[in-house]
Amino acid sequence: MSTLEYHVLLALSSGPLHGYAVKDAVAADSGGSQTPRAGTLYRVVARLITAGLVRETEPADGRPPHPGLERRYYALTVAGRRALADEAERLKATAAIAAKRLGALRTRS
């Protein structure tokens, strides 16, 4: 899973979002390190939909879309939620290893 994929899943974990909100959430969650432009972002979204991790959905608050401004909302599937959890677990584990090694290095110096 690429970093951007992880961040898109992460962005959707709080609830369904439309495309632009995904972009903003990714930027916020990553502290500005991930600012995908449209083409890149939607290829990731497409890949995640194809893989069954993300699905298109109704907006969470049940508000009907504005006429004229068609917005599509995306949400995590069950598989997506599990994939995100697994990845987070993996990142946590690797982060812990990193922290341990970095810590060990620090104490040694």
Partner: protein, 887 residues
Amino acid sequence: MTRILACCLWLFPAAFRRRFGRELLVQARRDGRRARRRGRAAAAWCGVMSAIDLLRAGLLERWRPTWHEPAVFSSSEGPRMRDTLEQWGRDFRHAARSLRRSPGFAAVTVITLALAIGANAAIFSVVDAVLIRPLPYGHADRLLFLTATAPESDLPREFGLFDEGFVHYRERSRLVEDLAFYNAYTGTLRVGDRVERVRMSSPTYTLFSTLGATPLLGRLPVAEDESRVAVISHTLWQTWFAGDPGVIGRTYQMDGDPRTIIGVMGPQFRFPTDRTLLWLPDALRAADVRAEVGVGIPAVARMAAGAAPDDVARELTGLSRDLPDRFGGSAPYARLIDRMKIVARPLADEMLGSSARPLGVLFGAAAIVLVIACANVANLLIVRGEGRHREMAVRQAIGARRGQLVRAQLTEVLWLAAGAAVAAMGLARLALPLFLRLAPEVPRLEDARVGAWTLLFTAALALVSALACGLPPALRSAGPSVTSLRDGSRGSTGRRRWVRDLLVAAQTALALVLLIGAGLLLRSHARLSHVEPGYSTRDLFTFQIAPEQAWLKDGPSFARFSLDFMDRLRALPGVESVGLIENVPLDEGTASVRIRTEEMPLDGGVRVGITYAGADYYRTMGIRVLAGRPFTREDAVSALGNVVVSRSAAKRLWPDGNAVGRKLQVGRLKTWETVVGVVEDVIQIDFRQPAQALVYLPMTGQSPDQWALTSPAYVVKTARAETIAPDIRSLVREVAPEAPMYRAYTMSFLAARSMRDLSFTTLTLSMVSLLALILGVVGLYGALSYVVAERTREIGVRMALGARPERVRRMIVVQGGQVVLAGIAAGLIAAFFSTRALGRLLFGVESLDVTTFAATSAAMLLTGLLASYLPARRASSVDPIVSLRSE
């Protein structure tokens, strides 16, 4: 800027663009707007970066796609589809479920299509075997059938080639690679104790090389074999010799002479007819031929590659001019040769051409039935599509594209067509043997199989019909926009009704065309069975024997044998009278020779059929004696030179009347025969042809050593015609154990056989048009029933407001009647142009027979009104309260 970005979108694959294109643009524009707040340069920079991003992503997407078009239902069920195949698979599963929920609809459509496709498949398997498959010879397209024609002569319109031509053309022609003469007759085959009369041919030895055939076993004849060898057919080899390869080299009596078997042909080689069992090749040498106006023999030729039949005909006609110089011959011969033209046409046309029309008519009729069936199914699908109008609108509203909706509906029809194809193959398998049993003798018919080609044809037909009847309704019902959801109605129908009406009218028109065709054939059939043949066909049994006994050596001895034999026959229980004839009507044609009367010039004369008759032939056959007397026993045994002529022969030879007592000369004979009687004309071979002029010679022939009637046909008048064969067979075994009885028929069988061509076409076309009529009526009934169901509310209101039931009934019937009338009008126009396809199948009926056209139209209208009346009655019994509540 937006426009540039939009252009960048075209780098993406269409599927991706369709799904995300708009969002991509919205987002890129929004990025741009945000950047503008930070100044112009930032906005420009952002635009460039967005464009680069889109270009990069578009190319990447093409190189390594992330997006696949989901199936129709995937948007809600989760995108698991890998490719289009899986989407189709999903649609198919869904369609199967949806069909299982409406088994009635599925059954009706499958049966309708199966009947129509099955009929087509069965007829196709026959057409394929008989007409489409090339003749089983090498380069069959280069084989020609040759005859000659000599306008203004008294020879038949087309006659065979002369022996001297065989020698001459083979030596001189550049365009003809090889040439063979052939004939077909019945001869005696004797193998050990088994003696039978079988169909055989005595071709020139070149027949096999001309056709390009190779033997399965042994070798082919060459000129040096002269008349000592025989080639046998695969059938004979299997049935008489149990497929024993040791048969090569054995010698048997064949057609009276010992012949050594040198070859066995493969099962495909059947020439000139399917029933020919063996070939007794002859060498025809220049020294053997005499230049004379003979009977002429049919010929096949293999033309050089690249030649055309017309060129060959022209070359041979030119070469023929040299015949009198090279071979001599009389002045009339030279005159004939001078006028003679060679006719060359493809052998396939000659062998199969006569079957082409009946089969073509049937194939056309089956195709029409298929069109009717498709119209029927299309109508049902439209109705079903309207029932699912809302479902389609909902699916479209949740994002299904039109193509997906069309595909979803098409899969349903494809299921139905697949089911129909399977059922059709079964039907064709069942129908084909029945078809073959009824069919007249058609070359290669027995090769017809429901095989791989039929399967392919059926599959193709099913696919085409599925698209034909499924695509238009699918396109229509995938059309409605989301707005139609707003009114809670069951769907608009007024706009579509004309399509259904059109389909019903078309069905009616096509069914009417078939009915008219069948009607014309039925009338021809009736006319033909009422033709007066000049003889009775009831209570008559006929058979032939060909005795071979040492004392039978000339005309009088054969005549004595026949007279004694007939005395024995007459003594059999139940036999009224017995006669003898050389060529039984309806079984064999007669030879024709030049007949000259005393009044005609020396080299004059007219060509008239001749045959030999004896004993009580005329009384037995019920042929009236118009003047003079029939033959007596004295005429039979001694050459008194008496003959009997038929009415038209008398009229042709002595136009002034009164033939009895006049004299005539037969062929090249110098003796004069006296006419002792005139009898009624008989139809010799074909009920369609007028009776031919015929001269009956006495059974001894014109002089004792000139002619012997070696294998006459006997006719027996008896009420036991159907059952007398075994009695006669045992009598024959007693009288002539060496001579098997053959060509044993009742006359009524021969009469039926002579009409089999027409009977077969009539029967099958009648069945096919009945099918068409039923399908048409079902279509009309279905369409009107739906109209009634749809208008239940309106009818309820009308009746609540006081409309009388008769009025409602009339309204519906009139609506149906209008459609049927339009169909009948169109059908009459179509029939006007298409009935001439029946051509020579018709007899005594014009192809535009007013009675048939009127009667079938009336029948069609009546059936149509009846089909409308039933739904109308249902409409008028509508309870206003119930109907108003039904919404």
